[in-house]
Amino acid sequence: MATLNINGKDMVVDADPATPLLWALRDTLGLSGTKFGCGAGLCGACTVHVDGVAVRSCTAPLSSVAGKKITTIEAVAADQVGQAVQDAWVAHDVAQCGYCQSGQIMSATALLKTNRKPSDADIDAAMAGNICRCGTYARVRSAIKAAASTLA
């Protein structure tokens, strides 16, 4: 049994503390916007924010996030930076299949929260852990830059 603060609400999850946050979100709480891609922290599809920091939820046990503020894709737009990123994602038509985009948006938002003027290298470094098999990276870069400029 763990109490998690997700998107501003306390939620009780009846699961082993070793269970990765991803599966509590998806299978227990029905928050399926966070995606399963690799189960090993290698692809970034499951990225969420824990106290504002991008975390791979597939390798984050519940015990490591209890009592912390967890934000998922479902609530990312409640925040000014997240909203700007999401708007830029739509305006730049980033998604193809769209499966990895929750994770891309969470990583991009975490980047812009700490770095309002990211360089090309900053963007590539921050997004290096997010795989997109459709190859949307060019538009990921341009959307992040556009979001940064609207926040400036």
Partner: protein, 760 residues
């Protein structure tokens, strides 16, 4: 997937398996389509109860409350009723007869229909079609998403559907106002009269339903298109940027359990012993089921509440495998075997006199290696199965992203022992596919159905979602087959090819599948040779060996062109270098007065890149390649460098000839994405290899795919054309790796002959 689009009479050659799928679909009970009601009933309700539902399907069939009233000449897939619904508020809902998995068809097909309908684009929505016969590929007569053919093969279909619906709206307006439909025009969701009066499609929808469906309609002159050709943002861009878009993996049903299956370590191996004591102790585990799996093997499914418990259960299994009888592939041994085979002439595809080789003044002798590749779509494979009823009432419902729901439904029926019409496939949005969701054996569907059947037999009545881990996916087979090519080329100092002897060695993709009947000719799988010799008129003898290996293989984005384009375009470039000719000029000269689309695409890429006019920074070189696949030509001019044995691709300029560009915004995305996937095949670690029967890779840590840092700048330019559009899902992939290789060859003097690149 690849199909020869020129086989117009294909339906007549359809193998029995496909015919039975079609028969099944013809006789299938009408399935759920709109708002949870059977389509036909919904239409009737729409007519009978008027505004009660607040939605009025514009329908052919419903004009007399029955499909029989539609003109006999129109087939189900020509009926506007099945494809477009106009609500009273003017919302136009277009049903898309393809799987949406990133290629943009959920926007492109509605654009095409809306163009002829003169709909207001801001009111257009899209939904997936199901396994209803209306949604077969109009050319293949089966449910199919593949061969980069969604727009290509449904372009005229969606135009005609839009035009028919528009004609019915015009007829309704004419009746309402009095007068002839010819005196009226349409624009942005309205019918307009010459005096400026207008009436919206929403207001007309109900009356339009009562109009006869015209069998013949006039289509617009493409020069009058306002929507087709306009860079248009995807209809699903918002849903896919907010976590709202659901995929197959997101299906949640009451009481649903999740299964994870332990697969044999060697394809087809069986179990010696199963110790499931610890697995059954894992909290949430409901059952451990020993079961048959793909290729005659055995496996063990752990069924549990949620994926994590199921996976913990699987990890706790103690399994002993009997691999003695299984053929154990080994990459080093396969390479040696393939290399030997490549030295002998196989089944001959192209004949040519190769006797001039011996006396040719210049020679190239080359062996190429292409490894197995996993598709690794971001959404892991999954299929949810719900079994209900007994005896004659037994039914199966499947939810999954699939490129071939008809095949999957047939395969499910067979393994479940149900009549085909008792199986319903609910097509879900897919998180990528690249061919992995178009499996002739329906491997992961059959597995999920086996799990569901055995779970039910074990007393678990709820629906079961079988979900693969990434390791299951990477190790699970159905790879792009490994290939070895061998070329002996003789040419003169002017670059004239005197003789070219070429051998391809690789497993057949379609042998033993229902596709075999029309894709294998004279023992040669057309997917292994597509793209060879094109677009150059060279005297090539091409022969093929199809060894049998215990590795399941499958089409992988752009199929045969993943290797044939590389071989053709690097060898042609090498001849140009050996004869000190410009690689662009040499190609254009070889094409002569043929291949205008190749030339136009190549010239566009050359012009836009500044090739030959701009000096690159020191240490960089140009690379060029052009290739046609799925009727679309893509040419790349790239800029690359090599530093300490490590190549980098800096910039790519694409010239694309896909005839009419329906949605340039999607085309740009498809080319950029396909180019990156092509680049991915060049990167260290982009290979599936075997050692003593075991796959050596397991996840994205050791199976390399391209990441953001690998992405070069890619500028996409499209050759203007008004001809009917050709495919875009795959053609951007094949020419990227050879263009990169050609740049590397210019820098190092040596053509990379193996993918991924090893520049030692």
């Amino acid at each position: 997937m690849n199909f020869d689009p020129t086989l117009a009479a294909l339906a007549n050659q359809m193998p029995k398996g496909l015919l039975s799928i079609m028969e099944r679909e013809q006789s299938a009970p009408k399935t759920v389509a709109h708002g949870g009601l059977p389509r036909r009933s919904f239409l009737k309700i729409g007519v009978a109860s008027g505004f009660a539902l607040g939605a009025f399907p514009l329908t052919a069939g419903a004009q007399a409350g029955a499909a029989a009233a539609a003109p006999v000449a129109l087939k189900p897939f020509e009926q506007p009723s099945a494809f477009v619904r106009i609500d009273t508020d003017g919302t136009v809902t277009v049903t898309v007869n393809r799987l949406k998995f990133g290629q943009g068809v959920f926007t492109a097909l509605p654009m095409i229909l809306a163009e002829e309908l003169d709909a207001d684009w801001s009111q257009v929505r899209a939904i997936h079609g199901d396994a209803d016969p209306a949604y077969v590929d109009p050319m293949f007569g089966m449910h199919l998403t593949g061969g980069s053919g969604s727009v290509k093969r449904s372009y005229m279909q969606y135009r005609e559907l839009g035009a028919r619906a528009r004609a019915m709206l015009l007829a309704a307006a004419a009746q309402q106002w009095g007068g002839e439909p010819d005196s009226l025009r349409t624009e942005a969701g309205k019918v307009l009269r010459s005096d400026g009066k207008s009436i919206s499609y929403g207001e007309l929808a109900e009356a339009a339903m009562k109009m006869p469906v015209p069998t013949k309609v006039a289509l617009k002159d493409p020069k009058n298109f306002t929507l087709i050709g306009k860079a248009t943002t995807r209809l699903d861009a918002k849903a896919k940027s907010s976590g709202v878009q659901a995929f197959g993996i997101d299906v949640r049903l009451p009481g649903m359990l999740t299964a994870v299956v332990a697969h044999p370590p060697v394809f087809g191996a069986r179990l010696k012993s199963v110790n499931d004591v610890a697995a059954k102790r894992v909290k949430g585990v409901k059952a451990v089921l020993r079961m048959p799996v793909d290729r005659g093997g055995e496996g063990v499914a752990v069924v549990a509440e949620g994926y994590w418990a199921a996976k913990q259960g699987r990890d706790a299994l103690k399994l002993e495998w009997d691999t003695a009888a299984a053929d154990k592939p080994d990459s080093a041994a396969l390479l040696a075997r393939y290399s030997e085979m490549a030295k002998t002439t196989g089944l001959v595809r192209f004949k040519a006199d190769v006797s001039k080789l011996a006396k040719a003044p210049k020679r190239i002798s080359a062996e190429y290696l292409f490894p197995y590749l996993a598709h690794a779509p971001m959404e892991p494979l999954n299929c949810t199965v719900q079994l209900t009823g007994q005896g004659a009432d037994a039914r199966a419902n499947l939810w999954l992203g699939t490129q071939m729901p008809g095949f999957d439904g047939m395969a499910a029926a067979k393994v479940l022992g149900l009549p085909p019409q008792s199986v319903k496939v609910n097509v879900q949005m897919a998180g990528g596919g690249f061919g992995r969701r178009a499996v002739p054996t329906a491997d992961y569907v059959v597995e999920a159905c086996t799990v569901a059947r055995q779970a039910r037999a074990a007393g678990l009545d709820g629906p079961v979602r079988t979900l693969w881990s990434r390791e299951d996916d990477i190790k699970g087979g159905y790879y792009r087959p490994m290939h070895v090519h061998r070329a002996e080329i003789g040419f003169d100092a002017s670059g004239k090819v005197l003789a070219w002897d070429h051998v391809i060695v690789g497993q057949s993709i379609t042998a033993g599948t229902p596709f075999e009947a029309f894709m294998i000719k004279d023992g040669i799988d057309s997917t292994a040779v597509e793209g060879m010799r094109e677009p150059y008129d060279v005297p090539m003898r091409l022969s093929v060996h199809h060894p049998k290996v215990n590795v399941p293989v499958l089409w992988w984005r752009s199929v045969g062109s993943t290797h044939t384009a590389f071989v053709m375009e690097t060898l042609i470039d090498e001849i140009a270098r050996a004869t000190k000719q410009d690689p662009v000029a040499y190609r254009l000269q070889l094409m002569g007065d043929q291949h205008p689309r190749h030339k136009a695409a190549l010239q566009l890429a050359v012009d836009q890149s500044g090739y030959g006019k701009r000096t690159l920074p020191k240490g960089q070189a140009w690379g060029v390649a052009v290739h046609e696949s799925f009727d679309t030509v893509v040419a790349y001019v790239v800029e690359a460098s090599v530093s300490k044995g490590s190549p980098t691709l800096h910039a790519v300029t694409a010239g694309v000839h896909c005839n009419l560009a329906v949605n340039p915004k999607t085309i740009e995305a498809q080319v950029q994405g396909a180019a990156l996937m092509g680049l991915g095949t060049c990167l260290p670690g982009a290979a599936i290899t075997f050692k003593d029967g075991l796959v050596e890779q397991g996840n994205f840590g050791d199976y390399t795919v391209a990441r953001i840092g690998d992405m070069p700048s890619i500028a996409v330019h499209i050759v203007p054309s008004a001809d009917p559009p050709t495919g875009m899902g795959e053609p951007g992939l094949p020419p990227l790796a050879p263009a990169f290789a050609n740049a590397i060859a210019r820098l190092t003097g040596k053509t990379p002959r193996a993918l991924p690149f090893k520049l030692a």
